[in-house]
């Protein structure tokens, strides 16, 4: 009973949301391993449970039962707090995501702003983890990771700014409702390519996974973390991938809306949102299985000299269209 935050007899909407997220993150790891396995002509996990379906729980249980090794030179308080910071920030972003019409946990009118603020704070967990471990590899990993996150936030914010200027709202619900007319991927097709690159970098995924480049830095900023703290980082990483997939769906793919304005029920809408997000997650895995890692200077050059100018140019172009045709959203 003490598990539920409000002391109700039933789990509240918030608890269901958090529980659902953690569960889906667990199955995402399995989905990634299975998809990558079939792309590489392997079988993938198939021992634990039927068709390997219980593999994530076996992994989680293993991490839960192992001993959490804390390096003797580490700053222990920060070392242990940073995974909690990262995971709670990764889960906090879900508060403003509408799963169906009117089912966001907190339907605030500045949802987009809230989400961007929360995702910016995510850098701190990485930075604290890398610094407090007092290890060269973790420190280099966290430096790379924070530089990457800070750099790629600019094109990310630019894309979001363009969408906000078109829809005239900072509320996710209204951005989705706007797309009853047209899914924004159609007018913003070039920009959506920029967005897909940016979310790969923002979630530290291949081909931009330099912070945890296995050959150089073992596991990046979380190399010294083990057992449960490591599991928290792992959950946070996949949580941010899931969040970015859902965000892509909301901003570009019409969110929970059915195509062609077909009527739907709340349950069906949630299902549609999940299906679209899964398609984006498949794209994440596909890219990881296909492309080799870029160098760090290439990573920075792509951001500052390619994506950001394209974002600025498209921002000016879109605003010009809105002003020239007198269709600024009122």
């Amino acid at each position: 009973m003490a598990l539920w935050s409000k002391g109700d007899k039933e789990p509240s909407l918030e608890d269901q949301g958090v529980g659902g997220r953690v569960g889906s993150i667990a199955f995402m790891t399995l989905a990634e391993r299975k998809v990558m396995a079939s792309m590489q002509r392997r079988i993938g996990p198939n021992v634990v449970g039927f068709y390997g379906i219980l593999q994530p729980f076996a992994d989680g249980l293993k991490l839960l039962l192992k001993e959490a090794v804390i390096p003797s030179h580490a700053n222990k308080v920060i070392f242990l707090i940073s995974p909690f910071i990262t995971l709670s920030l990764a889960l906090m972003g879900w508060a403003v995501i509408p799963f169906a019409k009117g089912t966001a946990l907190a339907d605030i009118s500045l949802g987009v702003l809230f989400l961007m603020a929360i995702s910016s704070l995510g850098v701190y967990g990485v930075l604290l983890a890398g610094w407090s471990a007092n290890s060269k590899y973790a420190f280099l990993g966290s430096l790379r990771s924070s530089a990457q996150l800070v750099s790629y936030e600019l094109p990310l914010a630019m894309v979001i700014l363009i969408i906000v200027s078109i829809t005239g709202s900072l509320s996710f619900l209204q951005i989705v409702e706007f797309q009853q007319g047209v899914w924004l991927i159609i007018p913003l097709l070039p920009l959506s390519l920029v967005w897909f690159i940016v979310i790969l970098a923002e979630t530290n995924r291949a081909p931009f996974d330099l912070p945890e480049a296995e050959q150089e830095l073992v596991a990046g900023f979380m190399v010294e973390h083990s057992a449960l703290p490591f599991a928290f980082f792992y959950l946070a990483e996949y949580g941010s991938i899931l969040l970015m997939s859902t965000l892509t769906t909301l901003l570009f793919l019409g969110g929970y809306l059915l195509p062609f304005g077909l009527p739907s029920t709340p349950l069906l809408e949630s299902l549609i949102l999940g299906l679209k997000s899964s398609a984006i997650f498949f794209f994440f895995v596909w890219v990881r299985a296909t492309l080799p890692r870029v160098r760090f200077d290439q990573l920075m050059v792509i951001c500052w000299t390619t994506l950001l100018p394209i974002g600025f140019a498209f921002f000016i172009f879109t605003l010009s269209i809105l002003v020239a045709f007198e269709i600024t959203p009122s």
Binding site: Q180, G181, I186, L189, I327
Partner: protein, 139 residues
């Protein structure tokens, strides 16, 4: 020694015709260093045209959507503006009913007090002041 070599060179020059290493007549064929990869997929021009066309169509639909949402917003605003007289009338009716009930209640409570004027204004003015306090029924 120098003299010897010089004389040797003179001897060689005299015996063989003067030649230089040159490409054969017509030149060498160009060396193919590119990989033989088939050119797959649509050309760049096709892609650019296609994406521009899709975007243009999307911007047209986007324009229609913005215009429609603007119209819906205007309709909502005007429907509220037109509802104001009705809501005001309802409010006035409700205020009058509550005021009458309040006067009755006052007369009932203060019936034993001599020289009590029911409904006398507490202000030193004859101007109408709407009541700021309502007595709501107890649940």
């Amino acid at each position: 020694m120098l003299l010897y070599f010089n004389s040797y060179n003179k001897f060689m020059m005299a015996s063989t015709p003067k030649t230089q290493d040159l490409p054969r007549p017509g030149g060498f064929p160009s060396i193919q260093y590119k990989r033989n990869l088939p050119r797959r997929g649509p050309s760049g021009l096709t892609l650019l045209t296609g994406i521009t066309a899709i975007s243009a169509l999307g911007f047209y639909w986007m324009t229609q959507t913005i215009l429609e949402s603007r119209e819906l917003k205007r309709e909502k605003n005007w429907s509220r503006i037109h509802l104001i007289p009705m809501l005001q009338a309802e409010f006035d009716r409700d205020t009058y009913r509550r005021t009458q009930a309040s006067l009755q209640r006052e007369a009932e409570i203060m019936k034993d007090v001599p020289d009590w004027k029911v409904g006398e204004s507490v202000y030193n003015s004859k101007r109408y002041v709407p009541p700021s306090v309502f007595v709501l029924p107890e649940k």
